[in-house]
Structure formats: structure tokens, C-alpha cells
Assembly symmetry: C2
Homo-oligomer: 321 residues x 2
């Protein structure tokens, strides 16, 4: 059993031992550039921790964790193009630095390298692992599509918003847990419980993201406060506000969205306060957080083995940045 | 044993039985749109014909053929973005019709669907099939990278040109043959011979493409004659001309490349004629074509079984469009 900091170290060691080929350098450099921006490696760590609930870490688990991290980064590279994002984690995005064609092609090859790692898994597990991986990968594309569709909508319902973040974000956390468990020899019921734990935590995690963007400390998040409001991103806050607003308030919110002045963020936050939206988001995050911990509690493994996973979940869900 | 027209019918039947999901429609519509543009389905047909040299067609072969066709179309969708191509097979390209973000995302999901099909292959073959598929997919990305790198070069050597078309085009024809053979139970030596046959035919095929662009009949190819010359594309003709030209002729060719007038194509063709380039390309195509047929001849299977494959190869290499 390893702590978060120990597991991340083990993962980085394995990960850096599997470099991309040297040539053509302008194909592989953008891949290394993105992967070296850092990031918390949450998904591979969840996979490895889930695996350790049942068995000692082995090559199957490390290759799967690597495939997950590569896939995740491939989606980031392509999403940044689609979202026209200039920055990621404070660094220039790949398409801004290396150009659009290379961001497409380097992303494509990174995706294929996920399958290079998946194909190293022991035959016993390969069908079920690739099956869940593919299904999750497809759902993530579908989630990104829904997110893009939102851009042409004035507003979206809370249900639609939840469906989008379920697909775009939470299923990969669920799959990371389930894949680790499956490879550790967990029963179907058990690995399904861990999928739901990961997925539920993923929803709380994404809603916390929305929360921090509006109410977090800019000094801690390193992001511009209210960035989502400024760019009219569809968030839980906006969806919920539309849901409970009366006709007059809806018109007011539509006006706020169309504004582009310096007080836009401040006035929107005041509007949210009038509808008590901040509290409702806090309640929702708490609801999903508690549900996640309940699911973890139900996993039929002695509590001692779940300590590190519990700690990691607390860290992710109570973060301030 | 089936003829080309029979096999293409069997393939289309299987292929159309595996549709994409209905929703989100704007994710999957671009996939169907591209796949329905037609095309000769050469790669899946090669895979199935190669399989039939050794065994009766089965689900393993059809799923692999489908994966190959999906992968090929995914690369077309993304290549068209990178090449800023407005048309493919006479139709508006996906990114022109559905927008850049969708051409990226629909391509991504189509790539993942290749692996959905590969994962349906019997466990006995799965590692070796996915291994060759991944390796080929990586090489194709590397080939596209080399091709893009060529854009910033004044000219390229014949060697560099051959390396690029080897990766970008010919390895997939080789892999299609080898995958079919492997799944049919061919020996390693035998499937390796068929890989080389496919690859060599792929080189002849691509050089024939260059030939038809310059010397084909516009009425038959449906393309603008000399399109490659007009857009300064790196072809065998241009690479060979630079290779054998003296200093003065090289300067002349560089001037031709910089021109943009109505006589550019005609004058370039006259220049090629002076250096006898057309003949050299014909010789080269013949050399690779003969090498391909020699390889097929060596495959230790009775000649009768190779009739349809021979016919298809003749059709591909002697085509006028």
C-alpha cells in the first residue's frame, strides 16, 4: 500500500521510462511538452490505488495507468484546439506553440500510444480492459460534443449540464478506478462499486471546479476569478439560476450574459446571490461528495486498505485550487 | 474464394451492419458522411482477399477489415484539415462542411471505433493484430508528419520522398495483407511475404498517382491535370528532376516552382520531358509493380488461389484514374 506521494513517484518513474521515439521530432515534441506541464496525474493514481486495494502493483496496472494518462492528455490537446484556448496550466497550448496541424497529429499519435500500452496487458484481461477503455473514450468524445453544442445555446438545463460533465469528465475517473480493480482481481460487483465511486467523485470534482472559478481565491487557483462568467461558459451556477429564475429574472440573466463590461462578473455574482445559487451549488457538491464516500465505504475491503484512497478523495474534493 | 466485386459486396454488407450510434448526431454524421463518399475499399478488400488465401472468411477478418477502413477514413478526415483541402472525391471535405472542431472530434471517435472492432477479434490473435495495427498507425502519423515537413522545403530527395510514401501510404496496404494472412493462420514467413507484397504494391500505387496527376486524362481521373505541379506538391517527378538536374537546371526548376501563371504546368512538363523524367517514373512504377508480383508469386499457396488477388493488383497498378 502506497500513499498518494509514493504512488505518483512510482508512476512518474514508469511513465518517464516509456518515452516517445526521437523522430520525427516535431511529431513527438508536442506530446512531451504537454505531458511535462505537470498536472496531478489523478487518473493514473486512482487506477493504481484502486488496484492496490486488491493486489500488489504490477505491469498490467502501470501500463493501464499510462494508457489512461496518455489518453487524457490527447483529449486535452484536441480540446484546447476546439476551445481556442491560449493557455493550459499557465503554459502556451500546443496548437498555439506548434501550430494547428501539429496539435492535431501529435494528439492522434498520443491516442494510438495509449493502445500500445493497453496491448501490453496480460491476455486474461485484455478484452475487458480495452472494452471499458473504448466505451469510456467514446463517451468522452460524446461529452465534448455536448459541451460544444452548448456554445450555440443561450442556456442549458441542469440535467443537460450534468449529462455533459458525466460524459466529459466523470466517466474517466470511474473507469480509472474500475480498470485498476479489474486488474487486481476484484469481483464484478466490487469493481462496479468503485466505478460509481470514481464517477460520483468526478461529478463533485467538476462542480467544485465551477465553484472555485466563481468563488475561489485567484491567488490560489492561479486563474482569473469569474473566468467562466466572463466567457459565458455553461456551468452549474448558470444552469441552476435559469432553472429557478422566474421570467423576469431569466430576462435579467440573459442581459447579464450579453454584457461585456468590467462589472459583469460582480453583477452576475450578486444576481446568483439573490437566487441563493452559491448555497445550492455547495449543497450539491456536498451531496455528491457524501455519496462518493458512502460508495467507497461499501467496497468490501477492510478500512485500513482504503486509507490512502480516502485521503486522496478528501484532498480532491476539499481543494482550494 | 471471392472476386473483387463479390468481396466488396460482402464487406459493405458487414460494414453497413455496424452503424455509429444515432446521438449526438453532429458527432456521428460527419463519420457517415465521409464513409458514404464511396472509395474503392481497397484496404479491407486486400485484408479479406489475403485471408481467403488461407481460410474461409470469418468474423475476425471482417472486424479487422472494418477497423482498417475506419482508421483509413479517420486519417483522411484529419489530413484534409491539415492540408486545407476543400474537396475529397468531389465532395466538400468534412471540416468545410461541418467545421474544424467537428472534423477533429468526429475523426477522433472514428479512430476509437477501429479499436472497438479490433477488440472483437478472438483472444488467440488479439495481441499480434493490435500490435501490427498500432505500429502501422504510428508509422502513418509519422509519414503525415514528414509530408507536412516537406512543405517548408524547397525540394526533397528521392530517398526522402520514398520514405514518406512508404510510411504515409504503403505500410497500411502491407499491414492489410499481413493482418488478413495472420488471421487466416498463415506462417510468419508467409504473412511477412504478403506484407512486402502489399507494401511494394503501395509504392507503385502511389507513384502511379503522381503519374496520373501529371500525365493522366482529366476526363478519367476527375481531377485537374497537373494539380500537384500547380500546388508545388513534392512528388516523385519533382524529386527526381532535382536529383538529376545540374546547377543551372535546378535554378530553372526553382523558378518554375515560384511561378503562378497559366503556363506553369505546361512549362514544367516540358522541363520534365527534357530531363526524361516521365520515362524514369514509368520505369520506377514498372520496377515496383514487377517486384510486387514476384513477391506474390513466391507466396507458397497454389496459383489458383491467388487469381483474384492478382486481378486486383493488376487493376490497381494499371488503372487510368
Amino acid at each position: 500500500m502506497h500513499s498518494y506521494s509514493e504512488i505518483i513517484q512510482l508512476f512518474e518513474q514508469f511513465f518517464s521510462g516509456h518515452q516517445f521515439p526521437a523522430e520525427p521530432s516535431n511529431l513527438y515534441e508536442p506530446c512531451s511538452y504537454l505531458l511535462n506541464m505537470g498536472g496531478k496525474r489523478i487518473r493514473p493514481v486512482l487506477c493504481l490505488m484502486s488496484h492496490e486495494l486488491f493486489a500488489e502493483l504490477n505491469q498490467n496496472a502501470f501500463h493501464t495507468a499510462t494508457a489512461i494518462e496518455l489518453f487524457h492528455n490527447f483529449t486535452l490537446m484536441h480540446d484546447d484546439i476546439m476551445d481556442k484556448a491560449p493557455l493550459r496550466r499557465g503554459f502556451t497550448t500546443v496548437h498555439e506553440k506548434y501550430g494547428l496541424p501539429n496539435a492535431i497529429l501529435s494528439g492522434d499519435v498520443m491516442n494510438i500510444f495509449s493502445y500500445v500500452h493497453l496491448n501490453k496487458i496480460h491476455t486474461e484481461y485484455i478484452h475487458s480492459v480495452i472494452d471499458l477503455f473504448n466505451q469510456t473514450a467514446i463517451e468522452i468524445c460524446e461529452g465534448q460534443q455536448l459541451d460544444m453544442n452548448f456554445e450555440s445555446e443561450k442556456y442549458v438545463s441542469v440535467n443537460d449540464y450534468m449529462q455533459m460533465i458525466t460524459l466529459k469528465t466523470s466517466v474517466l475517473l470511474g473507469a480509472s478506478m474500475k480498470l485498476g480493480a479489474m486488474l487486481g482481481g476484484a469481483t464484478t460487483g466490487c469493481s462496479e462499486l468503485l466505478y460509481k465511486f470514481g464517477q460520483t467523485m468526478g461529478l463533485a470534482f467538476q462542480m467544485k471546479d465551477d465553484y472555485l472559478d466563481a468563488y475561489g481565491s485567484s491567488a490560489k487557483t492561479g486563474k482569473q476569478m469569474g473566468g467562466d462568467i466572463l466567457s459565458n461558459k455553461k456551468t452549474f451556477l448558470q444552469a441552476k439560476a435559469f432553472e429557478i429564475a422566474d421570467n423576469q429574472q431569466q430576462a435579467q440573466l440573459l442581459q447579464l450574459i450579453q454584457r461585456n463590461d468590467d462589472e459583469k462578473v460582480q453583477d452576475t455574482l450578486i444576481f446568483f446571490e439573490e437566487l441563493n445559487i452559491r448555497q445550492q451549488l455547495e449543497d450539491e457538491i456536498l451531496k455528491y461528495t457524501e455519496a462518493a464516500f458512502d460508495l467507497l465505504e461499501k467496497v468490501p475491503v477492510i478500512s485500513k486498505r482504503k486509507v490512502h484512497l480516502n485521503e486522496l478523495a478528501h484532498m480532491l474534493l476539499n481543494r482550494e485550487s
